[in-house]
């Protein structure tokens, strides 16, 4: 137990070092642009924690990050790299808005579960396609999910501009691409009045615990992790690798779909343009930062929720483009994947100085 605690502590130190490293490089870019990094980072970090607005808005952003991140944990742990969450969020959002608006008079106790199911299923199908393509036709899932993102975006835009557009937008002639508001009985309740923080937060936290139980306490979860640890060995052990690849992608897509559902039912109350807001990529960063553990992803999602909010605040206060946060996230990913090397061989730090050759004990790299 003690050594386990020390291991966790060491990982936290490495992660924070990765974050600091990314921020320092980010600061160099700010300096090159003749901006004051201290002032910029001051706003970025102080803003989200300085008042009720900052704290609740941080959590509002953490909810979709956590749900997407949980899907990423499931898929990465199963050895499949899902970067299709952007498209899966859109699938979930449009599914939720469509089903919600189809039954405006249904009581919430029936409609809300139905809407959640519809969104999760839409995301699961969209993710499952990539899983099936990989399992059956050996199509690289990174490439297929990128393509599916683009396809989902066009289909989504087509639907909210055309068949599913709010009839009011048509009658007023404004034509803003968005669906009608979903029935009020399925708007998620506000946890703190006067803020946007909604009960989707509690839902996401419960899902995080369920994902942990699923991956580490059920035989299905065990098999999925076995496939991720080594597909060849898993196959010899009689595990149907193809089936678990499809399942992993469907579950990951379902989680991202749920992120779309909570954005619709909790925040916007309709499907509108730009609803995925980059959560599909930030969720990957949150999951990696949470060391691909469902419970670790909780604090990581809150941290990156704060970063996303802070970047928006920085843009408004000191006029530094919010694209900065994408730079930092990209750097964090590179730092975190590189830091595995140092975590796995403690001696490598010393070795590195001598010669750039380690003797890393490594599982399956890539495919």
């Amino acid at each position: 137990m003690n050594s386990q605690f020390r291991g966790v502590l060491k990982q936290i130190v490495v992660l924070l070092a990765a974050l600091v490293g990314a921020l320092l490089i980010g600061a160099v870019f700010l300096l090159l642009a003749k901006s004051d990094p201290i002032k910029a980072y001051g706003v970025m970090f102080a803003g989200p924690v300085s008042d009720k607005f900052g704290l609740t808005e941080t959590l509002v952003r953490a909810v979709p990050l956590l749900l997407v991140g949980l899907g990423i944990v499931i898929s990465f742990r199963s050895g499949i790299i899902n970067i299709g969450a952007e498209g899966q969020i859109l699938a979930g959002a449009i599914g939720a808005a469509y089903v919600g608006n189809s039954f405006p008079d249904m009581p919430a106790i029936l409609l809300l579960p139905l809407v959640f199911m519809a969104g999760a299923m839409s995301g699961a199908v969209w993710g499952g396609i990539a899983g099936w393509l990989k399992a059956r036709l050996a199509v690289n899932e990174i490439l297929s999910t990128v393509m599916l993102n683009q396809i989902a975006l066009q289909l989504y835009l087509f639907l909210i501009r055309g068949p599913l557009i709010d009839p009011q937008e048509v009658s007023y002639g404004t034509g803003v691409p968005q669906t009608a508001l979903i029935p009020e009985q399925i708007w998620l309740s506000r946890l703190i009045p006067g803020t946007r923080l909604h009960s989707g937060l509690i839902f996401a936290l419960v899902v995080a615990v369920l994902v942990y139980v699923f991956l580490w306490r059920t035989s299905t979860g065990y098999r999925m992790r076995a496939v991720g640890a080594g597909p060849e060995a898993a196959r010899y052990a009689g595990i149907n690798v193809q089936w678990y690849l499809v399942l992993a992608m469907a579950l990951a897509g379902g989680m991202a779909g749920l992120a779309g559902v909570v954005e619709v039912t909790g925040v916007h109350h309709r499907a509108l343009e730009g609803i995925s807001a980059g959560y599909g990529f930030s969720g990957i960063v949150a999951a990696l930062f949470g060391r691909l553990h469902p419970l670790g992803t909780i604090p990581a999602s809150i941290l990156f929720g704060a970063l996303l909010l802070g970047a928006d605040m920085m843009q408004r206060a000191v006029n530094i483009p919010a694209a900065m946060v994408m730079v930092i996230q990209g750097l964090v990913v590179l730092f975190v994947v590189s830091s595995d090397y140092f975590l796995k061989n403690p001696s490598s730090v010393a070795n590195l100085k001598v010669k750039l050759f380690g003797k890393k004990v490594n599982g399956e790299g890539g495919k």
Binding site: F29, A33, S35, I81, I83, L133, L137, A138, V139, N140, I142, L143, S144, V146, M147, L148, Q150, I151, Q154, L155, L157, F158, F281, I284, V285, L288, I320, P321, A323, M324, V325, M326, V327, I328, Q329, G330, L331, V332, V333, L334, V337, S338, D340, Y341, L356, F357, G358, K359, K360, N362, G365, G366, K367
Partner: protein, 311 residues
């Protein structure tokens, strides 16, 4: 319909097709070298975005597209170097490293554009150069020999990279490192050095591919100007089975379909817009699905090399 498909239109479709193939061809040939040495670089899209910005920015300030080309090569080399550091030296999982590089290039190009340029600005890009005599060949002349310098570069790179890969000792080393790194290492070939070289070369070509979009085609910069072309280029490497001629074939099929599709729209033939935009992405997935068969892939692709273990 009769008068519509006359030879002027066919020539125009084919010439546009060759031009549109250029970014795919440049990026995919670079990625071919990278993968032949055993490394996936899935950050090509991010490098292309950086190359597109650098090419645009240098051209805007120097007034010379040549400077834009140099800038995009340099930034591409730097991004390739970063990928090499992470995936070769630190032996990080290559798929995820690639995503990190993609996000970095995406964020950084957007950030720099907003900080240094701001609004929409157009530039004087590359001019087309008619090649004397050759451009007078009927039919083929106007299609192939009336293009800008990056189009010619991409076309020349096809046989050239085939020659380098299969007929030079460096090319032999690249293939050895990608297939049997242990054997190459035993023979005194530095696996790491070759992989660094290939990642930097691939990065430079990806940067150039990005520059083509800004200084060779649009004559401006816009967010997400690459529109997934970097990922499509990687798919074309699979489709082309890691060979330059296969990649040329794939790039042309792809760009000709694209050119035909836009011509159909110009001519006002009824075809749903969303479907037209989605088409290249659907075609990419289909291309990946029919080009399965791992036999063709470099054996050590995706596996970090460590001395003293057997692969």
């Amino acid at each position: 319909m009769e008068g519509v498909m006359n030879s002027a239109i066919i020539i125009s479709i084919l010439a546009t097709g060759i031009r549109l193939a250029t970014p795919y061809l440049l990026a995919a040939l670079g990625e071919m070298f990278t993968q032949r040495s055993g490394v996936y670089n899935l950050g090509v899209e991010g490098i292309m975005m950086m190359g597109a910005f650098a090419g645009f920015f240098a051209t805007l300030h120097s007034g010379s597209p040549l400077m834009g080309i140099v800038a995009s090569l340099l930034i591409g080399a730097l991004m390739g170097l970063l990928m090499a550091l992470v995936s070769v030296t630190f032996k990080a999982e290559q798929g995820i490293s690639g995503i990190g590089l993609y996000m970095l290039g995406w964020g950084l190009s957007g950030l720099l554009y907003r900080l240094y340029v701001g609004g929409i600005t157009s530039i004087d890009g590359l001019k087309t150069i008619k090649i004397p005599l050759l451009s007078d060949i009927p039919f083929l002349g106007p299609i192939i020999f009336d293009q800008n310098v990056l189009v010619y570069t991409a076309l020349v790179l096809v046989p050239l990279s085939g020659f380098i890969l299969f007929k030079t000792s460096w090319g032999l080393n690249v293939r050895a490192v990608g297939n049997k790194p242990e054997a190459a290492d035993t023979l005194g070939v530095s696996v790491e050095r070759i992989r660094y070289q290939c990642l930097i070369l691939g990065g430079m070509l990806a940067g150039l591919a990005g520059a083509f979009l800004t200084i060779g085609q649009a004559n401006m910069y816009a967010d997400n100007i690459t529109a997934g072309r970097g990922f499509i280029a990687i798919a074309l490497v699979y489709f082309g089975r890691w060979s330059p001629w296969g990649i040329l074939l794939g790039s042309l099929l792809f760009s000709m379909a694209d050119s035909f599709q836009s011509m159909v729209q110009v001519l006002g033939i009824n075809f749903p817009y969303e479907l037209a935009v989605i088409l290249p992405y659907v075609v990419t997935i289909i291309a990946l699905a029919i080009s399965f068969g791992r036999v063709w892939a470099p054996a050590a692709l995706g596996k970090p090399f460590q001395r003293g273990t057997r692969g």
